[in-house]
């Protein structure tokens, strides 16, 4: 069994093979490499840390389950995980938005908090609130493109749409965000 540090240079496909053969250090390496990003994406989409952790754990569990049948070179582990997590998040968001809007707890970030006094924090909070106004798919596309910094083809694979559709979604999403945030520029030190 290889030590965790020694696995820093091992690519994801090889780690999947190692894990499928029972190597827990490979699982550790995959966890540290991908789980934080999956959690961050889920948290941005769901705005609920407990739900985001649930979704991220479910996505990682699905990765562990598929490891013995993982086809090397067919998909990137990161893209696969983003896709699973995105779908799980979108399912939850659709349920929330579609049925019980009143039952959705108000995001904690809506309230003024001590931590939110920092300018950077304020901007992040303002962005999150504006993102809430976007349709789910626009929100996902903008998040993947501009916060997770994925390429349009990667996003197209994750969302199972064309690259042109990704470009359209992100453009419309950014236009809406810009109009929503325009009035806060001065307050957020962007004059």
């Amino acid at each position: 069994m290889m030590a965790y540090d020694a696995m820093n240079d091992v690519d994801d496909d090889a780690l999947m093979v190692l894990y499928a053969n029972g190597d827990q250090e490979a699982a550790r390496a995959l966890t540290y490499r991908h789980a934080p990003r999956v959690l961050a994406l889920s948290r941005r989409l769901l705005r609920d840390i407990a739900e985001a952790e649930d979704v991220s754990q479910e996505a990682m569990l699905r990765l562990w389950k598929i490891a013995p049948n993982w086809r090397q070179g067919e998909a990137k582990v990161s893209t696969w995980l983003y896709r699973v997590a995105s779908n799980l998040c979108m399912d939850r968001l659709r349920k929330k938005r579609g049925t019980n809007l009143d039952d959705i707890p108000e995001p904690a970030d809506d309230k003024p908090s001590v931590e939110a006094t920092m300018l950077s924090k304020d901007r992040a909070t303002a962005l999150e609130q504006a993102m809430e106004q976007l349709p789910i798919r626009q929100k996902l596309a903008v998040t993947l493109r501009h916060i997770d910094e994925l390429s349009n083809p990667q996003i197209a694979t994750i969302m199972d749409i064309s690259v042109e559709a990704v470009e359209s979604l992100t453009a419309r999403g950014k236009r809406t965000l810009a109009s929503l945030l325009l009035g806060q520029k001065e307050k957020l030190g962007l004059e």
Binding site: Y19, G22, Q24, A27, R28, L30, T31, Y32, A35, P36, L39, A40, R43, R44, E53, S56, Q57, M60, L61, W64, K65, A67, P68, L119, S120, K121, D122, R123, A124, A126, L127, E128, H146, I147, A171, K174, R175, L177, A178, S179, L181, L182, K185, L188, L190
Partner: protein
């Protein structure tokens, strides 16, 4: 004349917001990471367990009982066997009157002198 859309350059305006969002990403807590790795261990263990399908094993004794027709038949058979053994050990004194005098068989006795046997039985009844 086409109406010109307001000149909003979203990339420029939003870059600061996206940077702030990235900067404010919180690291996952240790418990979450441990849970994910525990799931990995659990999945490995689940895969390692041999999938045993239960095989019905019937003891040889049960098979023997079944081949003889079940417990009822075996009980009846045992009872008959025991009676046979008892009958074999207990001396049939009451058959003493069948003194065949050596070579004569029971069949021959009845054939030759069926009446004498009958009179002997009457004698026995009379003697009580």
């Amino acid at each position: 004349m086409m109406e010109k859309k307001p000149d909003i350059s979203p990339d420029l305006d939003l870059a600061a917001f996206f940077d702030a969002a990235k900067a404010n990403d919180t690291s996952p807590n240790a418990a979450f990471m441990e849970n994910v790795m525990a799931l990995a261990v659990g999945e490995t263990e689940a895969r390692a367990k041999p999938r045993i399908t239960p095989v019905e094993t019937t003891p040889a004794f049960t098979k023997l009982i079944r081949s003889l027709g079940g417990w009822k038949s075996v009980t009846a058979l045992t009872a008959c066997t025991c009676l046979g053994i008892v009958a074999g050990y207990v001396a049939p004194d009451s058959l003493g009157y069948l003194d065949l005098g050596g070579t004569q068989t029971i069949a021959e006795t009845f054939d030759d002198d069926g009446y004498s046997v009958a009179s002997d039985i009457e004698t026995l009844f009379q003697e009580g």
